[in-house]
Point group: C2
Chain length 253, copies 2
């Protein structure tokens, strides 16, 4: 069940962070942003610092409604597990997967555009009576002291109002500037790899070597190598093992 | 067309503001909040100060997409007319009406709870190509130096993404803490006044005096006076003329 989470863990924490001089100033600025959201919108704001591997939880008025412990506000983890334990397991899996896709996309675009995106998901979360209510979850990255690595993530949880016209998709990535919607579940990743590439990646996953793959598909070993290279490039990974994990996580295999 | 706006104008600006010592500190804090929203979400944030009758516009990335003049950021008015001129006239009228209802409600509840509410509306707004796109508009009040008067309003405009599952109602007031939805258009004001009270208010509007009303309805003048008092109390107004304007604006007459 925690396959997506551990993959995301690896990806987020394996980044190379350079300690900028203004790191603590940036942390304070990010904390202030999280605090503002919690106060103004009564939502729960969680700021995660991937470098120090700590999270800071700001409980707006909704935390009280949900029966969340409002004192446990600094966590020695990038994950806010007290909250996650209340999320419906299916939704939590979907959330991890979307966050992974979000991270991959953010790493692949120009740093200056990274802050124009956010991932939005609809989650069922248990309130203090033990009943599931819908919340809107948003994740976005905040500017850190070194912009190539993604250091600060802001997660915002707000209640979704019970009204027939209030609705959000289960999980999409949006551009807040251009209004573009990237619906990963439905379209984006379907055409990421060609069917030949998927076939080859499937064989790699089953432990076949390039030579065996070439023979099985009746193509030259150079062709197999070329496909391997394309797969690594398309998935933005550096090894075949990583490619398998990523493809599985994206639902490509 | 500007009936709702002028009524709102009167109500907002007629409040009694006491100059607190920390007024400028509070203004700066509110400006910082508006700035944060514009930066983080690429939306347009407008902070209005009903005391000094000025507004401060913070153009996030969306302003550019809409073709809005990004330099005109301090306005000697509580209304952001450059933006309003781009809103579909029907939606603008609905927005004024909702804001009026929001103000009335916020004045009638405990000050401590006032900051748990926001009014949300869906507006059509012209982009730089002259085509209408949907935006989500939210209005909420921020803490000012004197809490009885409502001094600072924050208006947030964000694009509504073109995706079948992203939707919001045309205009509702929500409690961000309890998730309660107050759907003014559909229910709230329908039962505000009894049919007898509506009848009497209608007669007042046509210029009838209490004595004439009593005679026409075959009731005592004391009964008419009692109804008048109830109407003023229910609509939170101090004169019959004001009652007529308010009731009309709420769609009660």
């Amino acid at each position: 069940m925690n396959n997506s989470r551990s993959l995301l863990d690896t990806k987020l924490l394996a980044q190379r962070f350079e300690a900028g001089n203004d790191a603590s100033v940036q942390l304070e600025a990010c904390q202030h942003i999280a605090q503002t959201y919690a106060t103004i919108e009564n939502g729960i704001a969680v700021l995660s610092d991937f470098n120090t591997r700590q999270s800071y939880l700001y409980p707006g008025g909704v935390a009280q409604q949900l029966g969340l412990d409002e004192n446990n506000t600094t966590m020695r983890s990038i994950w806010e597990d007290e909250l996650f334990n209340r999320i419906h397991p299916e939704d939590l899996q979907r959330k991890y997967r979307l966050e992974f896709q979000f991270f991959q996309l953010m790493k692949s675009i120009d740093v200056a555009q990274r802050f124009d995106y956010e991932a939005v998901s609809k989650l069922r979360i248990k309130n203090k009576e033990g009943n599931y209510v819908f919340v809107r979850h948003r994740i976005l990255y905040l500017k850190g002291p070194e912009d190539d690595a993604i250091r600060f993530a802001l997660c915002l949880y707000n209640v979704l109002y019970t009204h027939p016209e209030f609705d959000i998709p289960q999980g999409v990535i949006v551009n807040t500037k251009t209004a573009e919607v990237i619906d990963y579940d439905k379209q984006q990743f379907d055409n990421k790899l060609s069917s030949r590439e998927k076939e080859i990646l499937g064989l790699i996953q089953y432990g076949r070597r390039s030579k065996e793959i070439a023979s099985q598909l009746a193509v030259s070993i150079n062709t197999v190598h070329r496909h391997r290279q394309n797969i690594l490039q398309k998935l933005k990974v550096s090894s075949a093992i990583e490619a398998c994990r990523v493809a599985q996580n994206m639902g490509l295999l």
